[in-house]
Subunit: 358 residues, 4 copies
Amino acid sequence: MNTIGHTFKVTLFGSSHGDAVGCVLDGVPPGLIIDIQAVQREVDLRRPADGIGTPRREADVVEIVSGVRDGRASGTPITIFIRNENRDSDKYKRFKDVPRPGHADMTQVSKYGQCVDIRGGGQFSGRMTAPLVAAGAIARMLLSDLGIEIAAYTTSIGKVVDVKEHSIQELIAQAKKNDVRAANEEFAESMRREILEACEDNDSVGGVVSCICDGVPVGLGEPFFDTVEGELSKIMFAIPAVKGVEFGAGFRAASMRGSDHNDPFVVVDGRLRTAKNDAGGVLGGISNGMPITFRVAFKPTASIAKEQRSVDRTTMEETDIKIEGRHDPCIVPRAVIVVEAATALVLADLVVRGGFVD
Amino acid sequence: MNTIGHTFKVTLFGSSHGDAVGCVLDGVPPGLIIDIQAVQREVDLRRPADGIGTPRREADVVEIVSGVRDGRASGTPITIFIRNENRDSDKYKRFKDVPRPGHADMTQVSKYGQCVDIRGGGQFSGRMTAPLVAAGAIARMLLSDLGIEIAAYTTSIGKVVDVKEHSIQELIAQAKKNDVRAANEEFAESMRREILEACEDNDSVGGVVSCICDGVPVGLGEPFFDTVEGELSKIMFAIPAVKGVEFGAGFRAASMRGSDHNDPFVVVDGRLRTAKNDAGGVLGGISNGMPITFRVAFKPTASIAKEQRSVDRTTMEETDIKIEGRHDPCIVPRAVIVVEAATALVLADLVVRGGFVD
Amino acid sequence: MNTIGHTFKVTLFGSSHGDAVGCVLDGVPPGLIIDIQAVQREVDLRRPADGIGTPRREADVVEIVSGVRDGRASGTPITIFIRNENRDSDKYKRFKDVPRPGHADMTQVSKYGQCVDIRGGGQFSGRMTAPLVAAGAIARMLLSDLGIEIAAYTTSIGKVVDVKEHSIQELIAQAKKNDVRAANEEFAESMRREILEACEDNDSVGGVVSCICDGVPVGLGEPFFDTVEGELSKIMFAIPAVKGVEFGAGFRAASMRGSDHNDPFVVVDGRLRTAKNDAGGVLGGISNGMPITFRVAFKPTASIAKEQRSVDRTTMEETDIKIEGRHDPCIVPRAVIVVEAATALVLADLVVRGGFVD
Amino acid sequence: MNTIGHTFKVTLFGSSHGDAVGCVLDGVPPGLIIDIQAVQREVDLRRPADGIGTPRREADVVEIVSGVRDGRASGTPITIFIRNENRDSDKYKRFKDVPRPGHADMTQVSKYGQCVDIRGGGQFSGRMTAPLVAAGAIARMLLSDLGIEIAAYTTSIGKVVDVKEHSIQELIAQAKKNDVRAANEEFAESMRREILEACEDNDSVGGVVSCICDGVPVGLGEPFFDTVEGELSKIMFAIPAVKGVEFGAGFRAASMRGSDHNDPFVVVDGRLRTAKNDAGGVLGGISNGMPITFRVAFKPTASIAKEQRSVDRTTMEETDIKIEGRHDPCIVPRAVIVVEAATALVLADLVVRGGFVD
């Protein structure tokens, strides 16, 4: 349903074209310093960029309506509110009858019936990730106290692929400075061109987000089922448009030999580490102290201006559909902060469950 | 922890070198016909094959000790027991001090302390998948009544990759007939060679399992968080050695344009379908009535006979380690039935939650 | 924590002296007609009465900020907001050091530390029951469609005890008409006097609320643990000031013989019923189709104007404490609607879990 | 369903007349010393006494089949098995058609259908409390390390009521020495007579169990919903035959004034305590460091040899029923250890959730 987490839990509410979106965070340790400006800054990073993003602009002002007093978590649930302002809903009615290819219109109407609110994707909208980012910002404050840092960046857009390794320091310094969230301005430029080309063709394009978590202690994860990878992948697939998740060497591991893939143990500065990190920081579902690394594949935005084939469900006849409205030609740049936030929520829950917080 | 599922739930217990492994299944609809021979047959499919599998052989006799009466589920939890017989545990002691690369020894000891039982991987052992397969067999009986079929098969081993599309009928007919679980004997032969070569090199090799679920009704999945992809990926990452999961076009979608990736809606036999299935049967986290398709990447078996580098934790000095014992040079053929079982558990929970069962 | 329910779930947020209190309801069947006026009416029934209630008056305006569209549940979580207006918080600071007898000041500060917000009871305040009542009103709409009715009333206040049996029709017609929520005006008058006497003595008084649920189908409850009684009692003890819960004959059953207590089965209008209802409508944790009946004991309001003994935690010396401020001399009349709402939430969850809703 | 607990969790399985009953305990801290003899001793205390208990005698041998190695918890789930031996099941068939008054036959068949196993009460049998006691014994080992002690005893049987206060030391020393589990031999004698009289009349009798938990730290309980009282009451109502639960002054509090009921704070040995304990050790749902005290009402055993009225569901005609078989004329003496075990399970979960264990 709309809640995730075992002890540090977030419940999302609202919909794209309702009054507001928001969330309730339960299990935040009392006394945690909550920097509302920092929450707002993270939410702002999710907003579309000029030129390569949708022209729909929401102010996305974060209101904390409960759970914080005098700048600290009080121990009661933290409720966050983000009002919807810029709604343009009329055009969605038709999609209940003629579902948009690649969209959830068809599955939503089939599952929930005609009362479902599909405007802007309703509950399935990318807009639901705004409160997710706000919640993630608070999770990050908890993690930051433990020395855990998270950095995601755009690794590929369409045919442009960044195969270089980047340090987390480089990513933290650079990736939020360009509007594509690429590791540096050079990649950003090529990726921006790829997005604009798709846009000019009335089309959209997909991409990959990579994520690195540094400073993670040994011992996060609660096997058999609540593994680090399992918990992270579950929340990643809740982000609209995600089609794949892989850790460390990922799918590449399938073609490797064990002697290549196994990461030898070594001693670095008196601590047990591995010489490389094809495991992606996880062994047996538990963090091993190396950076947790994973990659998330995003499909191209489903809404495109090009004409597409669909079916009118009232007559069951095939028909053409053209989606007007305002859409991102590529969701990936905006998804980077969402991946970071979702990661923070999972790690915060695991550190609380694992007893790493006082 | 060791329980998964919301309404149709499974709890695993036991460890590789304890007395037994087993599980408790709660939420099985009373009256469901339970075919114990069929459960045993599925568990037998998980056993290692001659030549390409580990020489450790367990009888793996399935005992149902509660919850079934006169061949039907009674509504109380079903408890399944599989005794461990063929144990050879002495050699594991050393691995608490000198962790095996690629294994969970290091993370287990760090997390649970010296009392943890790492023999054979303990709770993290592939052996825990035996009761998972038994539980999945029961989930399958529930799904079968609804016309849902699941077929997984080996798509790649090392460098040998099967890129052909196979119908689910072909897979059901062929994949269990060869010991590699390939789509046909031709692929099986090449893949078998790939495994034997790795074995001769005292090494191991990884691979990919693909899975198709047919007959799935529209409307499975409980967004925002409990999506079809999220629930399936979470359980897949609980299977030892899994490093990646992708649905439909998966990572390939990241390089596509929207006009290529979106599946156009069409009418087939009076029903709303899509002309192709790059979505992998899921839109907005909810099944759309097309086959659910996904691929799971397995790393090469961590245990190899080759000498590897590790660290003695008592002295914090680097050292060499050689793993003797009995291991599968490639886990993929045995993982095929495990992927099917895990899939069945998730789908059974989603059909019960979605109200598709009476 | 702050969430209750398995499939129909409510999460409470806010605190007595924060900006707002509210809740998120997940699992409301899409299409359910939501009558916002009816929600407001139920919340209004929780407000204090003139003369016998606290002079603190909140407008308690219910805002539904998500999940309802065109008067129907849309399938996404329903979020309800009730702003706090009438706050008078200064006097609470002292209670962190000198805890009020019978209050949660001492346990809150010990558990959550100095950041906890104890103003007005904070998260432990009776004020948290306002959103509970709003959520219960929605649960009631679901139950009402199934013919389930819930009526609670004040059975005793201090020494005044109503031992008569009342039909649910009588209770529905009468109990909300008097400010004590007694079964009739005669009892209301005696109980009102009991409250006013306590008030004149600068004291408070306790009482008992009885509850009847009619029209309950056979088969609610999910043993072994999620029994009708277990689920109802758990939520009742979340209502501040509750000290006891009993079903049917309750504690009286302890002194009975089996031949007196067992309810004989009879046939009434062709249906299987029991000749009397000492079981309180539950056998083996499952509803048996007879009315579910239970009684809830409330302690006297902890806040009294009389001087009391306490301890100053900074010096660990005993001291006197006088609680000024505005308090109900008896919480029972206002608790009646809260008991009904909490009951509705539990029954709604059980009917959804039991498959009684479409 | 059949699982209870948030972090320290127990899942029950089996049924009265199946092969075995048992449980799986998840979340037991690795390294905890598990004394199997102590588990067996607790389970033995649940067995019926000569003269006043049922003649059905089960050996109730406890087998731990997973999760314990070298006398310590290994961190994996602990699975406990108790085989059923002494079954005499034929007589139960008739009760599917002609339900026994006061029993769950009618609700079980209505809810689960004809496949349900009602022999001996099936899943609703008092026999399910045998694995509950075994699990509780392990919870107790965890609590004992923290200095928490639990003692329950029989406070009333029928008309014989023990209104004296007893110290926990007295109860620990005396209550297990007599077969009624009374506070001393004098009460035991009167209560035993009350049971035998009921038995001679072919009847049964109810009673009350009181429970005291000493050494409980301040701060257990997770409001709003997961309060100490809420969690304890929920599990108590899962024990067959329980009809009421009250804490501290309980129902008596309803007739009290606030000035009488509020427990004044005092300093004892430098610690904050209350001068008396009408709160039963809980304020605002959180333990306050005083002993947690509560009372549990048990109805008389439903199975009596006296003729009773019932209905034949196949013909829907009223009929007489006589229950032969072997039954306890009073369940209360055997319930005492069950109340202790259930209490231990709840407190163990709360201490783990509250971070009181390493």
